[in-house]
């Protein structure tokens, strides 16, 4: 069965790219345009890994991650932050509020897939 991945990003460009990359890699993908919609999708879809942008309207990545970490069945799901923020401080901050990995946009398709595999492997170990 295909692995379920939820991708939350307010920019349509990235939603299109992520969908293409992940579906090409054989995953099942669900997309959401902001944190609020992402949270609803997560409860419904029960993903095995989550990709989330940082700066989004309605609910940003930070609040999304914190909210997800409070949801009982989802609290230990691996989360990768996918953002244009790129300083070491940004990465540290994101790791502090609960993400498992940090990818700077723009990214390579192979990089994204490899990192998803890595966080899922760690989560299952």
């Amino acid at each position: 069965m295909a692995m379920r991945i939820l991708a939350v990003d307010d920019e349509e460009d990235y939603r299109i790219i992520i969908k293409d990359v992940l579906e090409s890699a054989g995953y099942e993908v669900r997309l959401a345009p902001d944190g609020e919609a992402g949270l609803a999708a997560a409860k419904d879809f029960n993903p095995e890994a989550v990709l989330v942008d940082w700066m989004m309207p309605k609910m940003d990545g930070e609040h999304f991650v914190q909210a997800l970490r409070r949801e009982e069945p989802l609290k230990s799901v691996p989360i990768i932050m996918l953002t244009v923020k790129q300083t070491a401080d940004d990465e540290l901050e994101a790791l502090h509020f609960g993400v498992d990995d940090f990818i700077v946009k723009p990214f390579q398709a192979s990089d994204l897939v490899a990192r998803i595999k890595a966080v899922v492997r760690r989560a299952r170990a």
Binding site: D13, K105, F107, S110
Partner: protein
């Protein structure tokens, strides 16, 4: 030398010198008084002896005068001797109180009193006062006064110095604080404020300093906003373009047959991002022009109706997609306005695209005009109105500033990426046309941007 030390020394010196001046004046007056007292004492002794002699003469009591003389000698040590010579009944009798040994400084006063009833009877008095001893006592008195004065002066000077130091410390403390705070701000520390309050120049300086610190932080925040806005607006379309290219490259490298429809869609996405990027760069160039005061518009008669219709058509597809109705309600009979057609189009495009961003599905946007006359000049008031989310009064105030995006709105509206330069440029263009732009808005009800253009 610190201000505190300078002030202390200056105040201390001033107080000490004035104390010294006043002190010497007092000392001089005291010495004069003492000297006068001495002269008075001298005359007083002689007068007393004279009074006693008169009494004795009337009462014919020799002893009275004698005992009084003794009493006076005890009272006034300067009274060296009193020689009393009674005249009458043939022979003179002489009594002497004290020793009449001549010594330097001895001053003798001779007095002759006659009995008014018995002629020939009288008394001669020789009063010897030792002025030298009086003068010595006077000197002693003056010296004692001077010692007392010096002691008091010493205490007063110490007091003055302590007071001066406290005063100087009080005055210089805010200055010290100011220089410390200024140094901190110089090192880039934020939130530095001084709590000093007084109604004098220093109080005003502190107030001004706090205002300056606040303004500096505002400017700093503005600069950060600018940098992050520019970075975001440049990086996100560039990032999207690069990501699409990477994706397409990976797909082509995989060798599998590609879906041309999908590739066409990706090319369109790339094109859109390129347009967004060049739009932003144009906005930046316009902003730079405005900052240099070079926003120039070549005014000529333009029919607004045509420009408005063009703009409405430009947004038609997007509006349909968002289920928003855009209407051009400009009267086709409206006369031409004085405008730069390209810039006028830019103003309308900006206002309508903003309206599209902040108007939910099923909403309305319309462009209207109204003619009015002011000082004999005909104007056309152009309004772009929407039934959207509205702008809070707080956001309305900073709407036309560079990189000032409504805080409430951008958080609520999905995909509302803006450069934060649009309205800044719109305002500059309207002003270059000799007009002004204003906004009326209520949260939840909609927004109306109005600007005036001169008519031909």
């Amino acid at each position: 030398m610190s201000i505190r030390l300078k002030l202390s020394l200056a105040i201390g010196l001033l107080l000490s010198s004035s104390l010294l001046g006043v002190g010497f004046l007092l000392l001089e007056m005291e010495s004069r008084n003492l000297r006068q007292d001495m002269a008075k004492d001298e005359r007083f002794i002689v007068a007393m002896v004279r009074r006693a002699a008169e009494d004795a003469l009337v009462q014919k009591d020799d002893l009275l005068l004698l005992s009084y003389g003794k009493f006076l000698r005890q009272q006034f040590p300067a009274l060296e001797y009193v020689r009393i010579t009674w005249h009458g009944s043939g022979k003179d009798r002489t009594y002497t109180v004290g020793a009449a040994t001549p010594s330097p400084g001895l001053e003798s006063t001779l007095l002759r009193l006659d009995d008014p009833v018995e002629p020939g009877r009288g008394v001669t008095l020789d009063v010897g006062i030792n002025e030298a001893s009086m003068r010595i006592r006077l000197q002693e008195n003056i010296a004692r006064t001077r010692r007392n004065f010096l002691r008091l002066f010493g205490i007063a000077v110490i007091g003055a110095l302590v007071f001066a130091d406290l005063f100087a410390r009080r005055l210089s403390r805010p200055l010290k604080e100011l220089s410390r705070a200024a140094a901190e701000i110089g090192h880039g520390k934020q939130g530095v404020r001084l709590a000093w309050k007084s109604k004098d120049e220093v109080g005003r300086l502190v107030e001004g300093f706090n205002r300056m610190a606040e303004r500096l932080e505002e400017l700093d925040a503005l600069k950060k906003d600018f940098v992050s806005a520019v970075t975001h607006e440049l990086r996100s379309p560039l990032g999207a373009i690069e990501s699409f290219l990477n994706l397409m490259e990976t797909k082509l490298a995989g060798g599998a047959p590609q879906d041309p429809v999908q590739f066409k869609a990706y090319f369109d996405r790339i094109k859109q991002n390129v347009r967004r990027l060049s739009g932003f760069i144009n906005d930046l160039l316009d902003t730079a022009k405005i900052e240099r005061g070079k926003m120039e518009c070549a005014l000529k008669p333009v029919k607004l109706q045509g420009v408005a219709a063009d703009v409405v058509q430009f947004f038609e597809a997007k509006a349909k997609e968002q289920e928003i109705a855009i209407t051009n309600r400009v009267n086709p009979d409206t006369g031409p306005v004085q405008a730069d057609p390209e810039r006028l189009r830019q103003v309308l495009v900006n206002l309508v695209s903003n309206a599209l961003k902040f108007t939910p599905r099923g909403g309305k946007i319309w462009i209207t005009t109204e003619q009015y006359r002011e000082n004999g000049q005909r104007f056309l008031e152009v309004a772009v109105q929407d039934s959207g989310h509205g702008i809070s009064p707080e956001d309305q105030k900073r709407l036309f500033q560079k990189f000032a995006q409504g805080k409430n709105n951008t958080q609520r509206i999905a995909g509302s990426h803006g450069t934060g330069l649009g309205l800044f440029i719109v305002k500059a263009i309207v002003e270059a046309h000799g007009g002004t732009i204003s906004v009326q808005s209520e949260l939840g009800k909609g927004t109306r941007f109005v600007f005036g253009l001169k008519m031909v």
